[in-house]
Each structure stands twice: as structure tokens, then as C-alpha cells.
């Protein structure tokens, strides 16, 4: 985690997930997320941002919550390199908060990183895990490219 970078923090299924503000392009609210053929949870669907389609993934489902987000959907559009992905954490995450770089000076290294997590720190007793947008995008790509997903939702069961 970069020491001077500010973070946008979500609470998802009891976990605190952080995203570098530099990678956050916009936080938008949409009344609905359009269904994407082959899309299955945690893949929610697709929205448009600045005339560009953005695939949205449900962080609640991704991190083990039994229920997904509900409308209106608050989607954080993140960009890593040339990859753009929408992260929706509307069900239990509440409103995102900020973690400023100054606040991270007293952070201690956290436990080992897990899937979709690039690193973790411990701050004031909280474990803050930083999301790896590239791996999320790869996951989306993987989900969409699976042969069973190509048959459509009715055939995939």
C-alpha cells in the first residue's frame, strides 16, 4: 500500500476493503445494472460511464455475502492501467469513507494477502485490505470467458 496514497474504504461482509483514490475514476449511482449475457454472481452486469461500457462486479457476493446489492446501485468505477471495472458494494457496505495517506503513517503490516487482495495493513485495530483491481478484472474476464457462461444463463443453470 502506498504510504502517501489516499484510499476509498468499503465495508463488505465484515471486511474493510480499500481502493486507491488514484484508481477511482468516479462513483456513480444507477437505478439499474443491465444484464450481461453469461453474467453470473458475483458478476452483476454492465453500466455505461462516459459512453464506455463498464462491467460491474458485486463485492458482497464476491466476498461471501448471501445477499447482493440492491437498487439504486452505487458503483465505484475503478481503472487500473487500461482496465476499467465497476465495483458495487451497496448491500452492507454502507457509504464509502476515506482513508487519507496521513492516517496510514501509524499503520502496521497486516496478515498475508488473499484472493483479489494486493496487500493488508492494521490500523487502530482494523485490518484494511487493498483491492487488486487487475485481479478483479481478470476474474471478470475469466467469468465471462468460461464455456458454460457462453451458453447463457438459462442453459448454465
Amino acid at each position: 500500500m502506498e504510504k502517501n496514497g489516499d484510499r476509498l474504504v468499503f465495508s463488505v461482509n465484515g471486511r474493510h476493503l480499500a481502493l486507491p483514490l488514484a484508481s477511482v475514476e468516479r462513483v456513480v449511482e444507477r437505478p439499474r445494472v443491465y444484464f450481461l449475457p453469461g453474467g453470473r454472481p458475483p458478476l452483476m452486469g454492465v453500466i455505461t460511464h462516459m459512453a464506455e461500457p463498464v462491467t460491474v462486479i458485486d463485492l458482497d457476493r464476491l466476498f461471501g455475502a448471501k445477499t447482493g446489492s440492491a437498487a439504486p446501485y452505487t458503483v465505484v468505477i475503478a481503472r487500473a492501467g487500461g482496465k476499467i471495472v465497476g465495483l458495487c458494494a451497496g448491500a452492507a457496505g454502507g457509504k464509502p469513507s476515506f482513508l487519507w495517506s496521513g492516517d496510514l503513517r501509524g499503520a502496521k503490516p497486516g496478515p498475508a494477502a488473499g484472493k483479489y487482495i494486493s496487500r493488508a495493513v492494521e490500523l487502530s485495530g482494523r485490518i484494511i485490505e487493498e483491492l487488486d483491481c487487475s485481479s478483479l478484472y481478470d476474474e471478470i474476464s475469466d467469468l465471462l470467458s468460461r464455456p458454460e457462461n457462453m451458453k447463457g444463463p438459462a442453459e448454465g443453470g
Binding site: V24, R26, V27, V28
Partner: protein, 420 residues
């Protein structure tokens, strides 16, 4: 012509003497031996004297024999046919003739007396039988009277007890009547008070009804106002939705502004703080909207409750108006009724006082009856004693009747000895 017996004896004696004197001379007239003349003269004189003496004697003894036979018949009680055996007429009646007449009179009187006595004995026997029957009936009647007297005594005793009980009950009734009169007086007074209070109540109720009419109108206006308030409250959530939407958009805008300010580095730090303030403001707005929304929901619930209550109140008002009309009618009826009750209570009071006076008189009369019953009881006891004495007298009469019957039988036996 009556010639006493003594004269007849003297005449007979003289005839005998004459015979004795003159017969021997007559014999001398007759031619017979001398020596024969004296004995023959004595003999003729004795014969003639005997004949004359016999004639006189027979004349005397015949009468005495006849009289003796009559007396013997009388003594035997044979009183039949006295006239047929009379001596017959005499040329020279004497004492025997008078004695015969006296015996005939005795015979006749005795015959009549015995006949009368027989009739009397017969009647006495009949009377005795009748008396025995009467005494028997009297005895039975006395027994029945004694039994009846006993029952009367028992009845009188029971009557006395009942009268005593009745006296006690009548005294209690009199006391109850007194108590009832007192209570009826209280009731009459209470009825008057109730009547006055009912009239006051009717007046107050009429006033209350008019005020309730005003209340009903107020309730109807309140119901209408509550309905309008409910309609107006229905608009508030739409406004809150707009505010919420604006707040969320503001929050989102502030969030993005913060992100952009962060990307601007140190130059954007102040803007980020302002954006954060805006976000908190939006957040506060959102919470306030939620609070307002919650309050509006509660208010809506309350208003709906008020509307429902008002609607129910309106329905109740309609029913209440009907009830009020009925209450007015009932109050009118109640005031009429209480007036009627007060009037009747006065009548009842008057009747109760009369009843009390009658009960007291009845108690006095029952006391008098009780006194008479006690006297009757005493009289019944006296009658019982008299009946006992009467029974004893009947027993004595019965004994006397038995004795009389025995005497009658005995007399009958005596009289039976006489033949008529």
C-alpha cells in the same frame, strides 16, 4: 129398714125363749100321755129353738161367710165379678150389709186402683224402656259430648296458640307496616327528590345534549380536517423522496469531488475538506430526511389512526345523534315517569299510613280475639268439667233407671197377682 145385728140376736133370743116358754103349753093341748108331755114339750121347744137358732145363725154366718170369701178374694187379688156375687136385697139390712157395700166399694176402688196401677205399670215399663233408650242415647251423647268437648278443648287450645301466633304475627305485621310506612315516607321523599333531580337532570341533559351537538359538529370538522391532513401527509413522502434523492446526489457529488480533490494532491486538499463538509452536510440531510421520514411515517400512522377514529367517531356521531334523540325521548319519559312515581309514592304513603292504622287496629282486635280465645279455653275447660259431671249424673241416672226398672218389674209382678 136397718136392723142392727144386736137387735136381731135379741129377737132370736126372745124367739127361742118364747118357744121354750110357749111350746110346752102347746104340747099340752095335744092328747098324749102325761109323762110324755114334758119331755116332748122340752124336745119340741129344743127343736124349735134349734131351728130358730139355726135360722138366725145361718142368716148371720151366711153374710159373714160371703164377706169373708170376698175379703179372701181381695186378699188373693181376685177382683173379678164383684157385682154378681152380691148377697141380694134384704128386708132387714144390718151391719153386714154395710160391710158388704163397703167391701164392694173397696173391691171396686181396689179394682179400679189395680187397673190404673196396671196401666201405670205398663206405661211405667214403656217409660222405663224409653228412659233406658234416652239414658243410653244420653250416655252416648254424653260420651260424644265429652269427646267433642275434648276436641273442642284441643281445638280451643290450638286456636289459642294460633291466635297467639297470629297476634305475634299481626304485631310483627304492624311493626313491619310501621317500618314500611317509615320507608315509604323515605321513598316518597326520595321520589320527590328524584323527581326534582330528574327534572334538573333533564335540563342538564338537554344542555349537555346541545353541547354534545356542538361536540359532534366539532368531531365532524375534526374528521374532515384529519382527512385533509392525511391527504397532505401523503404528499410529504414525495417531497422527502426528492430531498433524499438530492441528498444522495449531493453526497455522491461530494464523494466524487473529494476523490478529484485527492487526485489534485496538496492543491486539492482544501477542496477535499470542503467537499467532505458538503458530504457530511448531505449525510446529515439524509439522516434528517430519514428522521423526518420516520416521523412522517409515525405521523401518518397516527393521522390514519386519527382519521379512522374520526370516521368511527363520525359514525358514532350519527349513532349518537340517534341516541340523543332517543335520550331526549327517554328523558321526557323519565321525567314523566318520576312525576308519576312521585305522585304514586304519595298515594302509597297515604295507603301505607292507612294500612299502618288498620294493622294497629287489627293487632288490637287480634289481642281481643286472643283474650276471648283464652276465655273460651277456660270456658271449654269448665264445659269439660260440666260434661264430666253430666256423665257422672248420667251414670247415676242409669243406675237409678236400673233400680227403677227393677222396681217396675217388681211392681208388675205384684200387680200381676191381681185379677180383674
Amino acid at each position: 129398714m136397718k136392723v142392727p145385728i144386736g137387735y136381731k140376736f135379741i129377737f132370736g133370743f126372745l124367739a127361742v125363749v118364747a118357744t121354750a116358754a110357749f111350746v110346752p103349753g102347746a104340747v099340752d093341748v095335744i092328747s098324749m100321755p102325761e109323762w110324755l108331755r114334758t119331755p116332748l114339750g122340752v124336745l119340741v121347744a129344743m127343736v124349735i129353738g134349734l131351728i130358730i137358732g139355726a135360722v138366725f145363725t145361718k142368716g148371720f154366718t151366711r153374710n159373714f161367710t160371703h164377706l169373708t170369701r170376698m175379703a179372701q178374694r181381695i186378699s188373693r187379688g181376685d177382683l173379678s165379678s164383684a157385682e154378681t156375687e152380691r148377697l141380694g136385697a134384704k128386708f132387714f139390712p144390718d151391719e153386714t150389709t154395710e160391710l158388704e157395700e163397703a167391701l164392694v166399694l173397696v173391691f171396686t176402688d181396689l179394682r179400679g186402683l189395680v187397673g190404673h196401677l196396671k196401666d201405670t205399670v205398663k206405661k211405667l215399663a214403656e217409660a222405663q224402656e224409653t228412659l233406658n233408650g234416652i239414658i243410653g242415647k244420653g250416655h252416648e251423647t254424653s260420651s260424644e259430648v265429652a269427646a267433642g268437648t275434648g276436641r273442642i278443648f284441643d281445638g280451643a287450645l290450638e286456636q289459642s296458640r294460633h291466635v297467639e301466633n297470629s297476634s305475634v304475627m299481626v304485631r310483627e305485621v304492624a311493626e313491619m307496616a310501621d317500618s314500611a310506612a317509615s320507608k315509604v315516607t323515605d321513598t316518597a321523599n326520595a321520589s320527590q327528590k328524584v323527581n326534582v333531580m330528574a327534572h334538573r337532570g333533564a335540563t342538564s341533559a338537554t344542555s349537555a345534549i346541545e353541547k354534545m351537538e356542538a361536540v359532534f359538529r366539532g368531531i365532524e370538522k375534526s374528521a374532515s380536517a384529519a382527512t385533509r391532513l392525511k391527504e397532505k401527509l401523503g404528499d410529504i413522502p414525495k417531497i422527502l423522496d426528492v430531498i433524499t434523492h438530492i441528498s444522495r446526489q449531493t453526497d455522491l457529488l461530494a464523494l466524487n469531488a473529494t476523490i478529484e480533490a485527492s487526485k489534485a494532491g496538496e492543491h486539492g486538499r482544501g477542496f477535499a475538506m470542503v467537499a467532505e463538509e458538503v458530504r457530511r452536510f448531505a449525510d446529515n440531510t439524509s439522516r434528517s430526511v430519514e428522521d423526518v421520514s420516520m416521523i412522517v411515517r409515525e405521523l401518518k400512522t397516527e393521522v390514519e389512526h386519527v382519521v379512522a377514529t374520526a370516521n368511527e367517531g363520525t359514525a358514532s356521531v350519527r349513532e349518537g345523534r340517534d341516541d340523543i334523540r332517543k335520550i331526549r325521548e327517554i328523558l321526557g319519559g323519565i321525567t314523566d315517569y318520576t312525576s308519576d312515581v312521585a305522585e304514586k309514592a304519595g298515594v302509597v304513603l297515604s295507603l301505607t299510613q292507612k294500612q299502618k292504622a288498620k294493622a294497629e287496629k287489627t293487632a288490637v282486635a287480634i289481642e281481643e280475639v286472643a283474650r276471648i280465645a283464652r276465655e273460651n279455653l277456660s270456658s271449654t275447660e269448665a264445659v269439660d268439667r260440666a260434661v264430666e259431671r253430666h256423665g257422672a249424673a248420667i251414670e247415676e241416672t242409669l243406675d237409678a233407671a236400673k233400680k227403677l226398672s227393677a222396681l217396675s218389674d217388681e211392681l208388675n209382678g205384684v200387680v200381676a197377682n191381681f185379677k180383674l
